[in-house]
């Protein structure tokens, strides 16, 4: 036990001595959380549209009003020149163009088919998707109104029914991306900081040749591992508390499911990231190698394939199976459950169990490898 404490003290002294490093480890999470919380937003607030109305009739204006009356669109420009439309779409100052041909009103009155052209900028698929859906709902409702009016004029007694959706959004009623992202950022930060720092901490001693000095001391390998890990576990938990404090203060997002459960499950999650960090350090000779391995083989797959931004359901089947091997996947469900849904261990136990199994496996495997390397 004493030996472990010595290592812990050595690590802490080393860490505190490096003032810049210490500052970054504390400032980075705060900065990232705030910037991510405000910037990582998909909230497609108001999609800019350019309207090209050749008809300029009461009907066409009424039709356009259907677009401007919603919260989804904002008219960036009215024009009667197609060139403007091209230009605005090309430079991205409008994402959707609505073009109404000359005979729009005439055709509607005569009962002919009136045409409308809708051009959508497909480069930002998310915005395009949302814009297209809103536009088709608006147009569909417009058609329904015209058709019902026609029926009424014909003298039909029975007006056909319409189905109206009554939408309830749970957990995040204002559909703010922030509420989804901020708990996710906690997972990302923990993963990045602990995986990289652990892998570097050991490889650094290797690269500088000080690992051999440690080996000749009476410290046993397991003591060395625990001593190296404890500071990072503490750092990780401090980061969790910091983030919980900040999200509550800055974003007004409390941990509905309880801070203690969060800390407990974060501890389990830290086991997996430290295990991964240790594993990376057993297969790397230099810090550069360790870093590149950690970035490209641990961090990037975890950022992209664990459901941080991109829903796992949309991925191809193979990748969906791969994602089962990423601990962050389970942790995301846990933090979002705790922050947004306010659920407890009774719902989250499968994820906790998966993390535990993964953590024990990777820790055992890499400790064994590390032992071999030392001997």
């Amino acid at each position: 036990m004493k030996a472990i404490l010595h290592i812990v003290r050595k690590e802490f002294i080393q860490f505190m001595q490096d003032r810049k490093m210490f500052g970054i480890s504390i400032v980075a999470p705060i900065l990232q959380l705030i910037i991510l919380g405000y910037a990582a937003t998909f909230d497609v607030s108001k999609i800019p549209i350019v309207v090209c109305d050749y008809d300029n009739s009461p009907s066409s204006r009424e039709f356009i009003r259907k677009f401007t009356n919603t919260d989804y669109f904002r008219v960036a420009r009215y024009t009667d020149d197609l060139k403007d439309v091209d230009e605005m779409l090309d430079c991205g100052s409008a994402s959707v163009a609505v073009i109404i041909p000359v005979d729009f009103q005439k055709k509607l009155i005569n009962g002919n088919v009136a045409q409308i052209m809708l051009i959508v900028d497909g480069t930002e698929t998310s915005t395009a998707n949302v814009g297209l859906n809103h536009a088709s709902v608006i147009i569909s409702q417009y058609m329904q109104n015209i058709m019902v009016e026609a029926l009424v004029k014909q003298g039909t007694r029975k007006i056909p029914a319409r189905v109206m959706p009554e939408v309830r959004i749970w957990y995040n009623p204002e559909l703010r991306s922030r509420n989804f992202m901020v708990p996710g950022v906690l997972g990302l930060l923990l993963m990045v900081i602990t995986t990289i720092l652990t892998s570097l901490a050991i490889v650094r001693e290797k690269e500088l040749g000080t690992l051999e000095q440690l080996i000749v001391t009476p410290i046993k390998p397991y003591q060395l591992i625990i001593g190296k890990f404890l500071p990072f576990i503490i750092l990780g938990l401090v980061d969790v508390i910091l983030v919980v404090f900040l999200t509550n203060l800055v974003f007004g997002l409390p941990v509905k499911g309880g801070v203690l459960v969060l800390l407990l499950l974060s501890l389990v999650f830290l086991m997996t990231t430290l295990g991964l960090g240790l594993f990376v350090s057993t297969i790397s000779k230099t810090q550069q190698q360790a870093m590149m391995t950690a970035i490209f083989f641990c961090i990037m797959p975890m950022i992209f394939f664990s459901g941080f931004v991109f829903p796992i359901e949309n991925m191809p089947t193979i990748l969906r199976y791969v994602s089962y091997f990423l601990p962050l996947r389970y942790y995301f469900v846990i933090v979002r459950g705790l922050f947004l849904k306010g659920v407890g261990l009774n719902i989250l136990w499968p994820q906790a169990l998966a993390l535990l199994i993964f953590g024990i496996t990777i820790l055992t495997l890499s400790s064994l490898r590390f032992h071999k390397k030392l001997e």
Binding site: D43, R162, Y171, L200, N314, I347
Partner: protein
């Protein structure tokens, strides 16, 4: 060009050779820098999708009539929804949503078919898991569209029944999607990935390669050799320029083979813009290594100033337009922001220089500033 000639007259080659030998010896880093980017592109291209498909959905049909069943069927003939379960009991809704088994629940009230037959407004309850707001709003869009389509059909049928022989919908609505007609996220993401990966390779590898010499103390050996600071800087950065260029070509190639992303605009412009961006990245890498004495620190600074911001703030994934004004202001500090606009314009839209000359101008100014400041700082470190 002048740059390179000047470099040749200087004694740069020995350092370039040394650096290359070091990189070559470390096979893993070379492999990571050259091939992983294109591999990532392929994986991302398939995996990273904003297109919401196969959303698991549960339905609770209180009505259990022919009408309600045919209504619900409309959802499952599309690829957007998968039926997870027909609920028997309202209590299950909480459980399924809490445990993330389903994202949407539709509740058809018991009087649904009656109301449809009577011609009254029938309501459907749609319960959406809003936690992933982006996916939720797209999903809601689909739900709305399907429901509106159903209403439209009901009305059309009524009109046909009322005795009109020829029936046409009053408005012909033709959506046309520009630049990326199938709305494939891959096309949107390829240019972004190029920027992201180039940023990672240039900034991180440059800053690490110099920080490493500082940490191991070998930089002093170089300092007492007759190598001039400018030679050291050029020699250290040139190999990474080369590697990044090769990686870029590999990415473009992979994008073409796997996703059919072709470069619609001029390849010359693309290379020009990419080169300016590379120089900017190298300048940032140099600046970081002049600040950091250890690799650990260099990496942390690089991650915070280049890696994460490029991921989040450059418009790679999150549209800048949707960010708060203050944050939008911050994005102007990122070189990747300008690069991305130019890249997308060239690759996806095939636009000419007149569409993005401003971006090129800013990027060039940025590159000159970065290189200038970092060279001055580096000279101080080396002197």
């Amino acid at each position: 060009m002048i740059h390179i000639k000047q470099a040749m007259s200087l004694n740069v080659m020995p350092i370039v050779k040394k650096e290359f030998r070091q990189i070559k010896r470390d096979k893993r880093i070379l492999g990571v820098l050259l091939f992983i980017p294109s591999l990532l592109l392929v994986m991302f291209g398939y995996a990273l999708n904003f297109d919401v498909k196969n959303t698991p959905m549960a339905v609770y049909d209180e009505d259990r009539s022919i009408v309600s069943r045919s209504f619900l069927e409309k959802f499952f003939v599309t690829e957007h929804f998968n039926l997870y379960k027909q609920l028997e009991n309202k209590k299950e809704i909480d459980e399924l949503l809490d445990g993330e088994m389903v994202r949407v629940v539709l509740v058809v009230p018991h009087d649904f078919s009656k109301k449809i037959q009577r011609g009254e407004e029938a309501r459907i309850q749609v319960i959406v898991d809003g936690s992933n707001s982006n996916a939720a709003s797209i999903t809601l869009g689909y739900v709305n569209t399907i429901i509106q389509q159903y209403s439209l059909n009901v009305i059309s049928e009524a009109i046909i029944k009322s005795g009109r022989r020829q029936f046409q919908l009053p408005v012909d609505f033709r959506p046309r999607i520009l630049y990326n007609p199938e709305l494939r996220s891959a096309k949107f993401l390829v240019p972004g990935l190029i920027a992201f990966i180039l940023m990672v390779t240039t900034v991180i590898s440059t800053s690490l390669s110099i920080a490493r010499e500082r940490e191991l103390g070998t930089i002093e050996q170089i300092m007492i050799s007759p190598v001039k600071p400018i030679e050291l800087i050029l020699g250290k950065t040139l190999p990474y320029v080369l590697i990044s260029v090769v990686a870029t070509i590999a990415i473009l190639f992979a994008g073409y083979i796997f996703f059919g992303v072709t470069i619609k605009g001029s390849i010359f412009l693309l290379s020009l813009v990419t080169f300016i961006f590379l120089v900017t990245g190298l300048g940032m890498g140099l600046l970081i290594s002049s600040l950091a004495e250890t690799q650990q620190l260099a990496f942390m600074i690089a991650a915070i100033t280049s890696l994460l911001p490029t991921f989040i703030l450059s418009g790679f994934i999150f549209p800048i337009r949707n960010m708060p004004i203050v944050i939008q202001g911050i994005t102007y500090l990122l070189p990747a922001r300008y690069f991305l606009v130019a890249l997308r314009a060239i690759i996806l839209k095939g636009a000419g220089i007149e569409a993005f000359w401003e971006q090129v101008l800013y990027l060039t100014i940025y590159a000159i500033l970065m290189l200038g400041i970092s060279s001055l700082k580096m000279k101080k470190v080396l002197a």
